[in-house]
């Protein structure tokens, strides 16, 4: 099985460590991974603002880059949601459908496809608050959102629990949005920042040393909020921890 690795634009630019951890992690499980060099973006910034026409060429490029793989894996819930559910500006050819139906977010891939039962190399001796990004939780089905009635489950927590030394803390509003929201973060900066600060404070008062998530975009926003007010909390992508980061 040939896997195409999609490293979303802001991860490429600002968080190369997340891309590296994802690639190394997949290689540890003997996956055959390729990184198509001409990749850019999934089109989400335009599409989430209603500008589907403006996203068409970007979407077409994405499909051109990734159509040849059996599976596409990305360490970003919101991008996977865009590809799977909203990549509709381009004509829905068999190639496009193949890409949309076979793009997986990293946690899903590890949990549902590889069904990983151990990360022997991983040890993280810290108290961690897990941040369910809204896209992974409600659009990709990473877990049961607190507002729905039903059996509790959480794929990312199930994976993190296999990491030695880790202590997962729960917070007061477990799946409240952190306020990033893509362009929302700059069109509604005050509300966005307030939500971010509230989120960090919730983790902080419940003893988290790290906030960990499967979405670097949420973490970019939260770490920006934390840095501005000097909050001593740190941030990690789940791929980094599962790949053996110790701090």
């Amino acid at each position: 099985m040939q896997i195409g690795l999609f490293v979303p634009c802001f991860i490429d630019a600002f968080y190369p460590g997340v891309g590296i951890a994802t690639l190394e992690l997949l290689e540890r499980f003997d996956c055959n991974v390729d990184y198509p060099f001409d990749q850019t973006c999934c089109g989400q910034p335009m599409v989430n603002s209603g500008c589907h026409d403006e996203a068409r060429a970007t979407e077409a490029l994405f499909v051109k880059n990734f159509a040849k793989y059996d599976l596409i894996v990305a360490p970003s819930g919101s991008c996977v949601h865009q590809i799977r559910d909203n990549l509709t500006a381009v004509e829905q050819t068999p190639e496009v459908k193949h890409v949309r139906e076979n793009t997986l977010e990293l946690v899903e891939f590890l949990h549902d496809v590889l069904k990983v039962d151990a990360f022997p190399w991983a040890r993280f001796e810290h108290r961690v608050g897990y941040h369910d990004s809204c896209n992974t939780l409600r659009n990709l089905g990473h877990g049961k959102p607190s507002e729905l009635h039903g059996e509790y489950f959480s794929k990312p927590r199930a994976l993190l629990e296999k990491v030695a030394g880790i202590e997962l803390v729960s917070i007061d509003r477990p799946d409240e949005c952190c306020g990033f929201g893509g362009t929302f973060s700059v069109t509604e900066p005050e509300v966005s920042t307030q939500m971010g600060q509230d989120k960090i404070a919730d983790h902080g008062r419940n003893g988290a040393e790290y906030i960990v998530s499967a979405d670097s975009s949420c973490l970019m926003h939260q770490s920006g909020c934390a840095a501005r007010i000097g909050a001593p909390i740190r941030f990690k992508h789940i791929a980094e921890i599962l790949n053996g980061a110790s701090q």
Binding site: F14, D34, D38, P45, G50, A57, E147, H149, F184
Partner: protein, 497 residues
């Protein structure tokens, strides 16, 4: 215990309370600027914090109630299905309702819009020489600008819902469809009542304030010439309607005067009385997290010697029913659960939406009334989706918010800077070379530019947040080139960039 006795703790003098933030209304023909009003709201931190806490408490109570009912998710599906069926056969059920209501002795009127609704009721009032009216809460009447109209023709309207009365006395719109003054603090109400009702401005005890309002309003209720209610549900098979309140004020409004007029949106229909067994279980649990409203009153015809009128109002509903992506918003039973769960609503306050409906529901309803005026609203969302999950009739609210963005963009309602900015982004992101150059430029700028050049009023991100730091060893792309392509020497891709 006499609820009117002042609570000594509450009468203690405090430092001057924070004034209530009051967003300016958008002028006619202008777009509502949600972000600006939200900023103003957040600049009153006591109000903002109290609002978030209070509204979140409703969401938490809702979760507790919902989670006690094993079949909760099935109930939601059932409610959604009943609404789909009813809306699909709305013409039939409306005619059935009209025939049965008439048979019960109710006068039935049809209003195509708010203006006609107001005119019809004005005529009814004129026929009966009505000068004063007591009224229960109705979002439909807010839509129609009913109170404003009646002010203009000299008929006095007295709101009987405590929250709505507070907002009426303050000359403000409701900020929440279930809890109209939820954005106010008790100190705001104490000052308002002192000014309007002559109560003690230093006493912000809730019981005292409620008592003061009750003392002032009861005589008006007893003397009123007519009573008005909305309806939560209209039952086709009986020609009756159901009103749910917690204060019993709808019952006072309907039963004290001899004339009862009810305004009912045409989407309120349900086929059968037994459908109430589904909706009543969902309504108050979703709204306030209480198992049921204190009063669930079924009205079926005029009282002895009295007269009852029902005005069935369209006001844009038929048009919405024809909108392929948005018709299911007509399923809404106005519980407010989507507002309570919405993190943006909780941080920005209902008045920041500058429209009849605030919160997620407002984002998808208001543009159907005036697309340009409310074109910013569908962007006042992070698309987090919790609104969809709490909706008792399973409206796909966040998908409709997303859908409205596309409709607004395609119809030229996006601000020019946003549209052109995204078009430029689309061009860069469609070109691998352009993209690599843009990343290089961004990271170089972040690394080398002085702080003032990055953090200024052109940078909305930087107002309250630090920018991400560019990585020391280059992008992932650079790393991959260094570490993977040269290792085994064979990649399926030739690096060109």
């Amino acid at each position: 215990m006499n609820g009117n006795e002042p609570n000594p703790a509450a009468t203690m003098k405090r430092a001057t309370p924070e004034p209530q933030p009051r967003p300016a209304k958008a002028a006619d023909g202008k777009r509502v600027d949600h972000a600006r009003s939200a900023k103003q709201f957040l600049n009153a931190p006591e109000h903002a914090k109290s609002h978030d806490t209070r509204v979140w408490a409703m969401r938490s109570k809702r979760d507790k109630q919902a989670h006690t009912i094993e079949e909760w998710e099935e109930l939601r599906q059932l409610a959604s299905d009943i609404k789909t069926h009813t809306l699909t056969n709305l013409d039939t059920y409306l005619e059935q309702f009209e025939a049965n209501a008439k048979a019960n002795g109710i006068h039935v009127h049809w209003a195509k819009d708010g203006a006609e609704h107001n005119r019809i009721i004005h005529e009814i009032f004129n026929d009966h020489g009505v000068k004063s009216v007591i009224k229960a809460k109705s979002m439909l009447m807010e839509e129609c600008g009913f109170r404003h109209y009646m002010d203009g023709v000299g008929i006095e309207i007295v709101e009987t819902d405590l929250g709505e009365r507070i907002q009426q006395l303050d000359g403000e719109d409701p900020s929440h469809i279930v809890v109209p003054p939820v954005h106010k603090m008790r100190s705001d109400v104490a000052r308002l009542f002192a000014d309007k009702l002559g109560s003690d401005p230093e006493n912000d005890d809730a019981h005292y304030l409620a008592g003061a309002q009750r003392d002032a309003t009861r005589p008006l209720i007893l003397d009123a010439d007519a009573g008005m209610t909305g309806a939560n549900f209209a039952v086709a098979e009986t020609g009756g309607f159901v009103v749910c309140t917690n204060e019993g004020n709808a019952d006072l409004s309907a039963n004290v005067p001899n004339l009862h007029v009810a305004s009912i949106g045409i989407e309120k229909l349900v086929p059968r009385v037994e459908d109430m067994g589904v909706f009543i279980r969902l309504l108050s649990r979703s709204a306030l997290g209480s198992p049921i409203t204190q009063y669930t009153s079924h009205f079926r015809g005029p009282k002895q010697g009295g007269e009852m009128h029902v005005v069935l109002v369209d006001n844009g509903r038929s048009k919405r029913l024809g909108m392929e992506k948005f018709w299911s918003s007509l399923k809404c039973i106005r519980c407010g659960a989507c507002m309570n769960t919405c993190p943006v609503y909780r941080r920005s306050g209902g008045l920041s939406y500058g429209a009849t409906y605030a919160g997620p529901l407002g984002l998808i309803l208001n543009p159907t009334f005036d697309a340009h005026r409310y074109s910013n609203l569908p962007f006042a969302s992070t698309l987090n989706g919790s609104c969809t999950n709490v909706c008792p009739v399973k409206i796909n609210i966040h998908e409709q918010i997303f859908g409205w963005r596309q409709v607004l963009a395609e119809n030229g309602h996006l601000p020019w800077t946003k549209k052109t900015g995204l078009a430029a982004a689309g061009k860069v992101l469609a070109s691998p070379k352009g993209y690599r150059a843009a990343i290089k430029a961004t990271n170089s700028a972040l690394k080398h530019l002085p702080r003032w050049a990055i953090y200024n009023r052109m940078n909305a991100w930087g107002e309250g947040r630090e920018m991400p730091s560019p990585p020391d060893n280059g992008t992932f792309h650079d790393w991959y080139k260094r570490h993977r392509l040269n290792r085994d020497g064979a990649s399926r891709n030739t690096p060109e960039n």
